[in-house]
Amino acid sequence: MIHFVLLISRQGKVRLTKWYSPYSQKERTKVIRELSGVILTRGPKLCNFVEWRGFKVVYKRYASLYFCMCIDQDDNELEILEIIHHYVEILDRYFGSVCELDLIFNFHKAYYILDELLIAGELQESSKKTVARLIAAQDSLVETAKEQASSISNIIAQATK
């Protein structure tokens, strides 16, 4: 099971955090500080895994951004590396060659996408297409909502539906 997902920049700035196991706000801050200390200082050729408090943290660097996932002892690290990559590919597809700035300003989008990919700490969907389709469906909702907001008659139609 994945206990949490962290996105940290090379400067140690937090870009996204998602906790699948309960951690108090205090613990969260501590975890982030501790892990960014460990991960950001690791050399480029070392393992992408770190043992930490009886768990394993799998991380991967994309440009200046570190994607980290904390997993149980008996999970498959290589698989998690690929789940990270899977997420990045989906982000890339969504934002169109994604860069860190996209995630800084649209972190809530990144959360929505993550919610379609992982749930309850497990991979829920391994098809990029399906994830993309669901996100698109949600986004089309945004579009229609905007259109409807502009015309009162539509709002009335919505209300009577």
């Binding site: 309960p22 108090s24 930490w52 860190e100 991979l123 990029k128 986004d139």
Partner: protein, 963 residues
């Protein structure tokens, strides 16, 4: 792109993000965030905020909280937002609550109602959003309110909903297995629920099928035997997946649905463990995967690794073991640290079955052990820990201790210390070695080791190694005393270690007559003085003093208390700690007694003698008799009092119910025991109440057909369940389940193979050792280390001490001969690590490059879209609007077809599923590199317009993550 990717938030928010991005220090960042919190606090409580504004405030709260600040003042607004009718607003609210709240937060009760309503919604997107929240926030108390609806959603027409409902169920089960079963107390309902789950295994949508594997994995982990009949189904699914029968959308880097394969392999590993028959069904498919897997990609290796895990878990098969060994050697020979790591891990799994495999890789293992990468090193220690024998324990434990001394990570220090202790206790070749090892462990990790370890050590010193050799025992003790006196000279020893030292000095300090009582007592006083804050150590020291004086008095010597000892006593007699005070007074009294009395209360070397305790208090018999004669009531033990038994039983049951869940949402049900038998995994905690059912269940399910024929399976299982109930009442006919006999069989077979391995290992190492000789570049130290680790080589054969506790003298010699060699190694290792400092300045990501040769559909897609981008490059705002519909249509065309593709028939339609660029060659991908660059330049221009400038601090902000 479009409203999805564009920066459409208000200027204010953009400014916030920007200023935080440019903050030079943590303090500056905190200042900005705190002022933002003030602003939000003010704004958010204003009346009549438009929804759009409110949505943004909530997103800003999320941002603030993500940066580690407290945004709890806004939680209630997020909760309110979930009540909104518009999905758009609701979705933001739901996102915020999942990020803000933990499952035990008080506000959750306010959302439950909304979720219940939303789960019934006609719009599947609303249901999905609600299910996301269910997975995160529903706790044991609220599961009952959700469960029935979630179970209904298992057959929802939309696959996305089915998938999430399954995951919610998985989460419920994870949280509280008992309440899931307890709650759907109606037997039929549970039944239908699991039946739905099994049906989902045959769902048309591979995503749903994949999701079903998660809860099934949990169920099977808890109770393997009930699911043995599913082996065939899992094997056939895995086979179809491996044969690319799933839609192409599930391919990942040219592998067919690897994530599903991995899950299935995990399940098979559980089901095949210790079950020869089940394992035999799996051999073919696992062998196929070994052959088909693409070992050049990371995901291929992930699947291969999972195969090895599976092979090492199921009943051993020589051919598969061979394939596994091949893969392992490829992993270990790889340049990638990741693969080496996985190789070491896989090796430690496989050596349980075939111990000889480690020897082929001895040099690789030693390389990993000396690697500067801590992760790899620790994994290697784990492997060594698993392959420790009495022949190599000294080298391994020495290495571990050496590493333990150098690290600061307390968590790992504790772990490795306890491992050292465990290995030393189990395999110690000699007493001296044991004591020295323990000294080292205590000295460097004393406060981290379990206090039990200290007690074990004391007992070992007191009892000796259990041999009837008193001289050896006393030698052991005097060597311990000597080493402790030496160690006491060092500053700052851990408390636990000091206790051991005090105890041993008190007990045996003067025993061999080498040291005078005044010398020892002086040392003990020093300890008490130097560690005056530690009352436990002081107490140990005082008691040790008392023993020394007692032994002196008993042997008829005159006792002179040292002046420092006297001052210590004076201090302790007035101590605030009653314990210390009492000990001091006792000491005072003991010193005043005559030799005979002292010998009675403090006999020398009697710490191991049993003190007889008269539990029945028979010396009071006379007194009791007297009282009864005088008319007192005789005492009746609690267990014999009438009625008590029932009451305690009752309480037990009550307690059980209370622990399973606290809120009741349904009426009481009657047939409780049958229900518990139905839920095998859940009942683990509560089985004490129900004596029979566990073995019953496996037999039922053995007879059930594969659940794909779902309705039949349902009815037959239902009938069988009733059988089970009857059987429960007819308790005498109880017969042991077949599984137990199976497992014992397995054990013996395992035992035999292990013995085989051990006996052949010697000759094999010889061979490998010889074959290695021609390779000159391997340093002699490494070879020596390898030889001592892997138990081969002539050197170890000379060693008579290999067998536990036979000849102490010889092993002592061996130990000495080890020391110089060992220290030399450490030196060489150190220089090595100095030579290669990790390059922190290297910004390049080496692993990324490996992915670029793959045909990336996204990039091609971008290439296709690029024309529109160029056209609209002038007006940045409109790019998005034009671009996104295009993208959308591209996505939207494909999915409808996938939905209906049947997993079992395996008919996938390649023409629909293929991405537009999928079949094209690498050339378009090359050309798409250019547009990518342009794209990022565009974005660069866009954000510059908005005022975000890449500073020297963050040069990579604009870099493509996948670039």
């Amino acid at each position: 792109m479009g409203s999805q990717g564009g920066f459409y938030q208000s200027k204010e928010f953009l400014d916030l993000v920007k200023s935080i991005g440019e903050a030079r220090s943590k303090a500056e960042e905190d200042r900005i965030v705190l002022s933002e919190i003030e602003t939000l606090k003010r704004r958010i409580s204003e009346p009549d905020i438009p929804k759009r504004k409110m949505k943004e405030y909530i997103i800003r709260l999320v941002y603030v909280e993500m940066l580690g600040h407290d945004a709890s003042f806004g939680y209630i607004h997020a909760v309110k937002m979930t009540h909104d009718d518009s999905l758009l607003v609701k979705r933001t609210g739901y996102l915020a609550v999942t990020l803000f709240l933990n499952e035990d937060h008080d506000l959750i009760i306010l959302i439950v109602n909304t979720i219940q309503k939303d789960l019934k919604s006609d719009n599947y997107l609303v249901v999905c959003a609600a299910l996301n929240v269910v997975c995160k926030l529903i706790n044991e108390e609220t599961i009952p309110a959700m469960l029935p609806q979630v179970v209904e959603l298992l057959v929802h027409p939309k696959e996305a909903v089915r998938k999430k409902a399954i995951m919610a169920l998985h989460r419920f089960y994870h949280k509280s297995p008992s309440s899931v079963s307890h709650l759907v107390s109606n037997f039929r309902k549970v039944h239908i629920m699991w039946l739905h789950l099994f049906q989902r295994l045959c769902d048309n949508d591979p995503g749903v099928m994949g999701a079903t594997l998660c809860p099934l994995f949990d169920l099977i982990t808890k109770d393997v035997n009930s699911y043995k009949d599913l082996v065939i189904s899992f094997v056939s699914i895995l086979k179809q997946v491996a044969e690319r029968r799933l839609p192409k959308a599930y391919d990942y880097h040219q592998m067919p649905a690897p994530f599903i394969q991995i899950k299935l392999l995990k399940i098979l590993a559980l089901l095949g463990s210790g079950d020869k028959q089940a394992s035999e069904d799996m051999y073919t498919v696992v062998g196929d995967i070994f052959r088909k897997c693409d070992s050049s990609s990371n995901i291929g290796n992930a699947v291969l690794y999972e195969c090895i895990c599976c092979v090492s878990s199921i009943y051993p098969n020589p051919k598969l073991l061979e394939s596994a060994a091949d893969v392992i050697s490829r992993f270990l020979k790889s340049d990638s640290h990741n693969l080496k790591y996985m190789g070491i891990d896989a090796l430690s799994r496989l050596i349980k079955i075939s111990p000889e495999i480690a020897e082929q890789h001895q040099l690789a293992v030693i390389d990993c052990l000396e690697d500067p990468d801590d992760t790899l090193k620790r994994k290697t220690f784990e492997l060594l820990y698993k392959m420790t024998k009495s022949t190599n324990v000294e080298v391994i434990v020495d290495r571990m201790i050496d590493y333990m001394i150098r690290i600061n990570d307390n968590h790992y220090k504790t772990e490795i210390a306890s491992r050292c202790v465990e290995l030393a206790e189990q395999f110690a070749p000699s007493n001296q070695w044991f004591i020295q090892t323990m000294n080292k462990v205590f000295e460097h990790a004393g406060d981290l080791v379990n206090i039990k370890v200290a007690h074990n050590l004391m007992r070992l010193i007191a009892e000796g190694f259990g041999e009837d050799d008193d001289t050896a025992d006393s030698q052991l003790r005097s060597s311990a005393v000597e080493s402790y006196l030496r160690i006491l000279g060092e500053p700052k020893l851990p408390s636990v270690f000091l206790r051991v030292i005090c105890w041993v000095l008190g007990e045996y300090g003067t025993a061999d007559g080498k040291f005078s009582a005044s010398y020892i007592t002086g040392k003990l006083c020093d300890v008490a003085e130097a560690y005056s804050n530690d009352e436990t150590v002081k107490a140990y020291a005082v008691t040790a003093l008392m023993k020394i004086y007692a032994f002196e008095i008993a042997s008829g010597k005159k006792v002179d208390m040292l002046p420092e000892c006297q001052t210590l006593m004076e201090e302790l007699l007035a101590s605030h700690s009653t314990d210390l005070q009492q000990r001091a007074y006792e000491l005072q009294v003991v010193i005043g007694l005559d030799a005979h009395a002292v010998d009675c209360i403090m006999p020398s070397d009697a710490s191991c003698e049993d003190i007889e305790v008269d539990k029945g208090l028979s010396f009071l018999d006379g007194y009791i008799q007297e009282s009864i004669e005088k008319g007192a009531q005789p005492y009746i033990p609690e267990s014999e009092r009438s009625g008590i038994l029932n009451i305690s039983n009752f309480r037990n049951q009550d307690h059980n119910e209370a622990s399973s869940h606290s809120l009741r949402f349904e009426a009481y049900e009657l047939p409780k025991p049958t229900m518990q038998s139905r839920i095998p995994p859940a009942s683990l905690a509560s089985t004490e109440l129900v004596p029979v059912p566990e073995p019953m269940y496996p037999r039922e399910s053995y007879q059930t057909p594969v659940p794909s024929v779902s309705l039949d399976a349902g009815s037959s299982e239902l009938k069988l369940r009733l059988d089970g109930v009857q059987k429960k009442w007819g308790r005498p006919t109880y017969s042991p389940a077949t599984s137990t006999s199976n497992s014992t069989l397995q054990k013996t077979v395992n035992g035999i193979t292990q013995v085989d391995g051990a006996s052949t290992s010697n000759s094999r190492t010889r061979e490998t050792y010889d074959s290695r000789k021609p390779q000159i570049e391997i340093s002699p130290e490494k070879q020596k280390l390898a030889a001592s680790l892997f138990g081969g080589s002539s050197k170890t054969e000379k060693r008579p001490a290999a067998v536990h506790k036979i000849s102490k003298a010889s092993s002592h010699v061996m130990e000495k001969s080890h020391v110089p060699k060992y220290s030399m190694e450490v030196a060489s290792e150190k220089t090595a690590s100095v030579q290669q400092p990790p390059d922190l300045l290297d910004l390049g990501e080496p692993t990324v490059t490996s992915t670029s040769p793959l045909v990336d559909p996204f990039k091609q897609l971008e290439g296709l879209l690029d024309t529109t981008q160029v056209a609209s490059a002038v007006n940045h705002g409109s790019i998005a609007a034009i671009e996104s519909p295009d993208m959308m249509t591209l996505y939207a065309d494909t999915p409808a077809a996938i939905r209906n593709s049947d997993l079992l028939s395996g008919l996938s339609n390649p023409s629909i599923i293929n991405m537009p660029g999928d079949t094209t060659t690498t050339q378009p991908m090359q050309s798409s590199k250019g547009p990518n660059l342009k794209d990022s330049l565009e974005r660069d221009a866009l954000v510059r317009q908005m005022g975000v400038t890449p500073s020297s601090q963050n040069p990579n902000l604009f870099k493509d993550l996948l670039g």
